[in-house]
């Protein structure tokens, strides 16, 4: 560590004048840089080194073994296949939703939007639970409505279904923004020059949304690769990297092989993520011209609008059905055998899950504000200050986005299981993991909000005698409150619903509620799993309300 900070310091000496003028900045940068190196880069470094030094000396024998064994090799290709299919289906459905919302006067938005956003706050494998309840071996639809015996939802098709429903909202949000930024006057201009509605779509709207489509696709590809809980439960014989890395690392006690699988998971994610960042940075040209304006003109025919409506209805219908199934599962005595209603699962859950819930809330309650504040601070440094190593800081702070939870989990175990940083088994390691994993959204929203706020507002503050720290607290923070709220909400949701990294870090002393859902599902206690999932969704939604209340959303700022 001392080597890294030493080198940084010598680089910093180049613009020592800046720091002499603003010593707080140097101090802050050193601390932030140190934290990012220790808690983001160092664990990754440990995974990488273990994967190539498992046998004591440097060798690629683990990777060779993995690619020689058919069943291990297959996990890599399965992960890629699942990622490609899920990313494609999710992006298509997301684009359909985005187009229907941004470019038509489709009815029923008030119904479609909240339902389409619900998967973003749902526990990681709530939909897997529904799918098992509906389409599993004792599934309501497959066994009892259709009377099928041999139907098997486990494997690729089940995973594509739950991942698509869970991840298309990412594309929807992304692409709605992209479509809104394409000025309708471009479409008007094309129509005015004689283009048909189809030609307008083909020549103008579609080409201009390609960067957004690609970026959504890559983002979902990364998310699908990182998904751990769904494949673990619903994968059946369809083995993927995240699950196999976990099994090798914890089940088989083969740490080097687990690390090697994690590395194989890490690289495609990093490549896809870097590509996606590059596209985002280039995307600015889309908004170069055109005013969003109100859409008065019909760009789609009535017939097409009905098709879009039907698709939106079908997808949100599935989400609704999945939710209703979990609600039913929470109250039905024994799914598939005894359909009578009872509160049995609720009593059981109260006994089993209360402590987990309390601890999860405690950990999330501590980690959420720290994560969001650190995110805002980094955003402030990135937008407002100039210093050497800025792009490295930006890249590292966004890195957690791209690193699958399984890799982080393994990395944390390897990095923090010995002094001076003996953290395994403590609550602190969970908090630290939350803080650094869920900070990127705060950084990103903070940056996008800050660039819109004229720098002269802050200059006026320093001009009147305030220090950098005071200016940040009294001027900048209130102005970027919307980003702060978004960062808090995201961090809280993910703290409450995280599993892939957490499953490595929980201990007898500190438990997490998602791990409990997983273990209940694995022993086929689906009633209790349903109850815990439902309560978790309610807690997350309540948390949103409390965050707004606590930070104060009422005095909305004008013209920020």
């Amino acid at each position: 560590m001392s080597i890294a900070t030493h080198r940084q310091r010598s680089v910093f000496s180049k613009n020592i004048a800046t720091f002499r003028q603003d010593p707080m900045l140097l101090f802050t940068l050193l601390i932030v840089g140190f934290l990012l190196v220790v808690f983001i880069l160092f664990p990754l470094f440990k995974v990488l080194t273990l994967s190539v030094t498992g046998s004591g000396t440097f060798s690629l024998s683990e990777f060779r073994y993995i690619f020689e064994q058919w069943w291990l090799r297959q996990t890599f290709f399965n992960s890629m296949l699942l990622g490609v299919i899920t990313a494609t289906t999710s992006t298509i459905i997301g684009y359909i939703f985005a187009y229907a919302f941004a470019r038509t006067s489709m009815r029923g938005r008030w119904f479609f939007r909240p339902l389409a956003m619900l998967p973003l706050v749902s526990p990681p494998f709530m939909f897997t639970l529904s799918v098992i309840l509906l389409l599993g071996r004792n599934g309501l639809i497959t066994r009892y409505l259709l009377g099928l015996r041999g139907f098997n939802i486990y494997g690729l098709k089940g995973l594509v279904l739950v991942q698509t429903i869970g991840m298309f909202p990412i594309a929807f949000m992304n692409l709605e923004g992209v479509l809104q930024s394409i000025g309708t006057d471009l479409e008007e201009a094309a129509l005015d020059l004689g283009a048909s509605r189809l030609a307008v779509f083909r020549n103008i709207v579609l080409p201009l949304s390609i960067p957004g489509i690609t970026s959504s696709w890559l983002l979902i590809f990364v998310t699908s690769l990182a998904d751990f809980a769904n494949p673990l439960v619903l994968g059946g014989r369809f083995d993927v990297l995240s699950v196999q890395a976990y099994l090798q690392f914890t089940g088989m006690f083969n740490a080097p092989r687990g690390a090697a699988l994690a590395v194989l998971l890490l690289f495609p994610s990093l490549i896809a993520f870097t590509l996606q960042r590059y596209l985002i940075s280039r995307r600015s040209y889309v908004t170069v011209t055109g005013k969003p304006g109100h859409m008065r003109l019909r760009f789609v025919s009535r017939w097409l609008e009905w098709c879009l409506f039907a698709i939106c209805l079908m997808v949100t219908g599935i989400i609704l059905l999945f939710y209703l199934t979990v609600i039913a599962g929470a109250f039905v005595k024994k799914w598939g055998i005894d359909w009578s209603l009872s509160l049995e699962h609720w009593h059981y859950t109260w006994d089993v899950a209360f402590r987990s819930f309390a601890q999860t809330l405690q950990l999330a309650g501590i980690a959420t504000p720290i994560s969001a504040l650190l995110g805002m601070l980094i955003a402030f440094l990135l937008v407002r200050k100039s210093f050497v190593g800025k792009s490295a800081l930006g890249f590292t702070s966004m890195l957690s986005y791209a690193v699958p939870g399984t890799v982080v989990g393994i990395g944390y175990i390897l990095a923090f299981n010995q002094p001076p940083l003996l953290l395994t088994g403590t609550g602190l390691i969970l908090i630290i993991c939350f803080v650094f994993r869920f900070m990127p959204v705060s950084v990103e929203t903070g940056v996008s909000q800050l660039v819109q706020i004229d720098r002269s507002i802050e200059e006026a503050s320093t001009n009147l005698g305030a220090s950098t720290a005071y200016t940040f607290r009294s001027i900048t923070m209130p102005l970027i409150k919307p980003a702060f709220i978004a960062g808090l909400s995201f961090a809280f949701t993910r703290c409450m619903t995280a599993i892939s990294a957490i499953i490595f870090l929980v201990s007898g002393r500190w438990h997490h509620v998602t791990v409990l859902i997983l273990s209940q599902t694995e022993i086929m206690n689906l009633g209790a799993a349903s109850v815990i999932s439902l309560v978790l969704v309610i807690v997350v939604l309540t948390g949103f309300g409390l965050i707004r209340l606590a930070v104060g959303d009422k005095n909305r700022r004008l013209s920020v």
Binding site: A189, D192, L193, G194, Y285, T289
Partner: protein, 357 residues
Amino acid sequence: MNAQRVELANLVKVFDGPGGEKVVAVDDLSLTVEPGEMVTLLGPSGCGKTTTLRMVAGFELPDSGQIFIGDQEVSRQAPNNRDTAMVFQSYALFPHMTVGENVAYGLRFRKLSKNQMQERVAQVMKLVGLEGYDRRSPNQLSGGQQQRVALARALVVEPQVLLFDEPLSNLDAKLREQMREEIRRVQQSLGITSLYVTHDQVEAMSLSDKIVVMNQGKIEQVGTPQEIYRRPATRFVADFIGKVNFFPVSRWALSGGQMDVQVYEHRLTLEAPETALPRDIVVMCRPEAIQLQRDAGIPGKVRKAVYLGSAVEYTVEMPDGALATVVENNPLPGGIIQPGEEVGLVFDGQNAHVLPA
């Protein structure tokens, strides 16, 4: 090019306001644009000028009334079936296409051979002074150049009607003047019937064969730039176009083609207007048409004198306490009247004009 007449008959457009109330954007508007004419719709924001233009393009459908281009009624036609081409305020250049592709875009929907297309694009690019810019991206161009591309893209399809939606409002003052002349030159050389929307009176005056002044969805006056400036039909028009003084009239009488009016105890003889007048009228006079003299004319007291270089702008307090503006061009050094001094306002009957109060 076959210039066509454009006729708007009793157009009405009502929008739903934010509170659900009805907002009448265009209120029973009728207008004829003669073939080859450049007509400007001028008015404050919200007067319905842009909505009118968008109805001609087909971006809005009128709630009632008709639109004719030549002999053909187009009121209900889709924008892509109308032979109009618009130059947008935002230019609306397609950012993913080169300048050449932008300009050629409209030709994709007209049955032309590749050679004919290239030829027409080249012609138009030359006309707007953008030769050699084909392969550039619109982002690489300055505001003025983007404006030229937008103009070329509209011209290349040889529309029967050319529409302009405040095309110069995103340019700086100097460029605006240059582009104004350019647009006028191109429009006149091609003789295309054109409808131009602006809120800038200078732009309207310098460009137009005819100006249509609009207010609250209705036409206040249609006339040549001179008529609009010198003989405004209403106080709104007089006030909207340039600076103006309104003097109260205490008594008036018609005698033949002339009329006698009494302004602040002073009698003036003016030309009688062609239309009938109500009982209460005012006299309007432009600030630059008034001379200040020491001991003649309507008495007043100078309150303020602002030196503008090419002119001095005086604020004069009239006998009833109202303030009048007088502009003296090319002021001589030492000839500027100081605040507090008593003066007399003198103006010629030819430069004054009566209006309903």
